[in-house]
Symmetry: C2
Subunit: 459 residues, 2 copies
């Protein structure tokens, strides 16, 4: 451990220079969604290549039809091997007038007695990816080498739907495959409690369009005998949940597992306050499955949600139309081993079952991804958790995520890799918003955390 302590000392002593490097990166407006910033994105990739090369990485810019990837290899050629992922592109900065200073001129600011770095991309994801780079630097500067084999992949299109990512992973699968992936694009449970996200929900999404008459009808002339698609659609949607909030599709819960006791205990220990969580958005009562705690509802239970509905006249005033069609967008968040395609079929079967005479349905599929559930019995998880626990005031916890983080699914599906999602962001980082910030503590503690996690995974 003396070795780790000295590496941590190096990391600490590097803080001012590390901030200068981060600020240089933050000054580059690498907005991937706006073509006007394309050359800035390329320059940012080049900057990262130079930075990694200067540390001894075999680093290169890898052009794609979109923004370039940065790939770098370092460390011993055998033994444990990690793939580290981050993204160097950022969200647009508008509305600019809400920023306290130029979003691409990073500033250190004092907030509530703590220092924060304010800039676009500070937390999402430049500050985070630099925690890993600075940890690598500390290892190399202290001991002359990385403690384990490292492949780095920095993407430049995460904020614009990653069109080049899956093709790139497929074309370079052999080069990029490691023992496990480290994804640094998430947050801590709170400022005291580090976390590894080990469960992400999948999703199957479907649009259904119900059609009846071949034109809109007047409810005076046809109201009564004419089928009404809004009524048919409402009936279908209302059939999808029972009065306990459970989804009624046949086979829907196939593959849903109980949360293992130990994991449930960890979650319990987080002291999640459902009332406070819901209170922030004007709600108070968990509306999902009865008898299931709210945190489990988000992390470990599937849903069937209605994301959009449209039919008939929806402008001001009133029009007594019987619409020719009505449509809804439906998505199911999936957990554990639920099969998205089987659930899509069950949904379609339900619609057909409830479809009355004279009505037709069109289905438009919108994606189907399984949940990502990491194999936490892989010793790397417990090793990383212990390493994080050594750094921060409170025990590190395995958490879940209610949404999908596509990259974790891609690593699993294309490279066959489980991912450890370890990040140091905070809930109030305002990513994608004006005055985005990253706690200085997240940056320095994140760097120190990676020093420890690398050591732990090297064993």
């Amino acid at each position: 451990m003396s070795s780790i302590e000295s590496v941590l000392e190096t990391a600490d002593s590097n803080t001012d220079a590390a901030l200068e490097r981060l600020f240089a990166l933050l000054r580059m407006p690498s907005i991937s969604t706006d073509p006007a910033y394309h050359s800035d994105c390329v320059a940012t990739a080049d900057w990262l290549v130079a930075e990694l090369s200067s540390l001894g990485f075999d680093a290169s810019r890898r052009d794609t039809p979109g923004k370039p990837m940065v790939v770098a290899h370092g460390g011993p050629q055998d033994g444990p091997h990690v793939l580290f992922y981050g993204h160097y592109d950022v969200q647009p900065a508008d509305p600019l007038n809400l920023w306290k200073s130029d979003p691409f001129d990073p500033q250190i600011e004092e907030r509530d007695g703590a220092k924060v770095i304010r800039a676009r991309g500070a937390a999402d994801d430049k500050g985070q990816l630099m925690t890993f780079v600075e940890a690598c630097r500390a290892w190399i500067e202290t001991s002359g080498a990385l403690p384990l084999r490292v492949t780095i992949l920095f993407e430049g299109e995460e904020e614009s739907h990653s069109p080049s990512l899956v093709p790139f992973l497929k074309e370079n699968a052999e080069e990029l495959t490691a023992d496990i992936a480290l994804i640094c694009d998430t947050g801590m449970w709170d400022t005291q409690t580090p976390s590894i996200c080990t469960m992400l929900r999948g999703m199957v999404a479907e649009e259904i369009i119900i059609r009846a008459a071949d034109r809109d009808l007047h409810s005076g002339g046809y109201g009564g005998p004419a089928a009404n698609p809004i009524r048919v659609l409402s009936h279908i949607l209302a059939s999808l949940h029972d009065d306990q909030g459970r989804v009624t599709l046949e086979g829907f819960y196939d593959g849903v597992r109980e949360v293992p006791g130990e994991l449930a205990q960890q979650w319990e220990s987080l002291g999640f306050d459902a009332e406070e969580f819901l209170g922030k958005v004007g709600l108070s009562v968990p509306a999902g499955e009865q008898g299931i705690p709210a945190l489990h509802q988000i992390w470990a239970r599937p849903t069937c949600e209605f994301n959009g509905i449209l039919g008939g006249y929806t402008g001001d005033g009133f029009k007594t139309v019987l619409p020719a069609e009505a449509r809804a967008k439906i998505s199911c968040r999936l957990v554990w081993d639920q099969d998205p395609l089987a659930i899509r079929e069950a949904l379609r079967a339900r619609v057909h079952h409830l479809l009355p005479a004279d009505c037709e349905v069109e289905f438009i599929p919108h994606g189907a991804d399984r949940a990502s559930v990491m194999a936490i019995d892989n010793p790397a998880f417990e090793a990383a958790r212990q390493a994080l626990a050594d750094e921060w005031p409170k025990e590190a916890v395995y958490t879940g995520g209610g949404g999908s983080i596509p990259i974790a699914g891609h690593f699993k599906q294309v490279l066959g890799l489980d991912s450890m999602l370890i990040g140091f962001g905070q809930d109030d980082d305002a990513i994608h918003s004006p005055n985005e910030k990253y706690d200085l503590n997240s940056f320095t503690g994140g760097t120190r955390s990676w020093v420890r996690v690398m050591a732990a995974l090297a064993k």
Copy 2:
């Protein structure tokens, strides 16, 4: 009866001149909704005043904040008294390129072996109102006087929501009140079968907006515990009908009567073909209350229809949003003695009953009108029906109407008058559309019909 026969002969012999007068009226572009035609509307009113004055009516143009009314009085000062209503304004004629000739240059055309008058307003409503004027002329030319007291009201804003009508009726209630109103703005059952429309449905309309969270939420972060307004709304809408198609609101059917046996027999005799009726709009099976014939569903049964629904993301593609609100426009067509306000309250009570925790509802009322059910035991109805039957090949029938004709309601509410809706339009007249036409047979037979109805009502 010899007197009627001679009046009918006069009417017949006047046909060519009557057509010239109608054509003069049709040449005036009295489009009420377009301010550019305001002076044409005024000129049309003046033309009608002159026409009626020349027949001996005490006729005058009565200006309003909108288009002028035409009011005329004629006939004996005592005995039966009818108020005749028509409107001289017309719909805009666009799209002009679809007309076979100038919409304001009326033409006689041969269609399927019968002559029709093609022009904007031929059927709606200038041709129709002139049938009554020509019948008056025939009476006056033949016997020197009208057979009963007649008040005429011609409106110039029917095609633009009649903003001046109710105030005008209220201000001139004493002058306009008669024993019964005759409204000539509807059609025959078919070319052989005249009809009197005696039942019009009323309506109560309501918009409901369900709100939950104070912002749109991401279904990854909140899907599960967060209330979903689309789901709440669907549940409410789906609760409004049972599996027999009946509306489940408390007290909804209070005031709904059985169709009297004799009336039901008349309707039966019409040979209404539900399959053909629905087939024209791509449907085949009456979707309303089970066990109720389609014609009864339209004319004599109430509905609860959904006219519009909107919530969440409805554009292309998919967005996993849990919307902050969802809204629906709901309208109930009402029959007999149903109380629109009681039904509105029942609907609101249902919504409140089904509203879960954390959800709020806003109601926007959109009008509430009782059904118009004429007192057909008033002997005038049977007299008019006999008169029509004498003129046409088939028995005249009492029909219903699934929609509302506001003027009938206004006459009832402001003047206390039942209305006889007698008109000679045909289903294929293309009112409001290019190449609007009025059958020459409708014009001549309509004129002859009014000769007979006036005689019948004079008794």
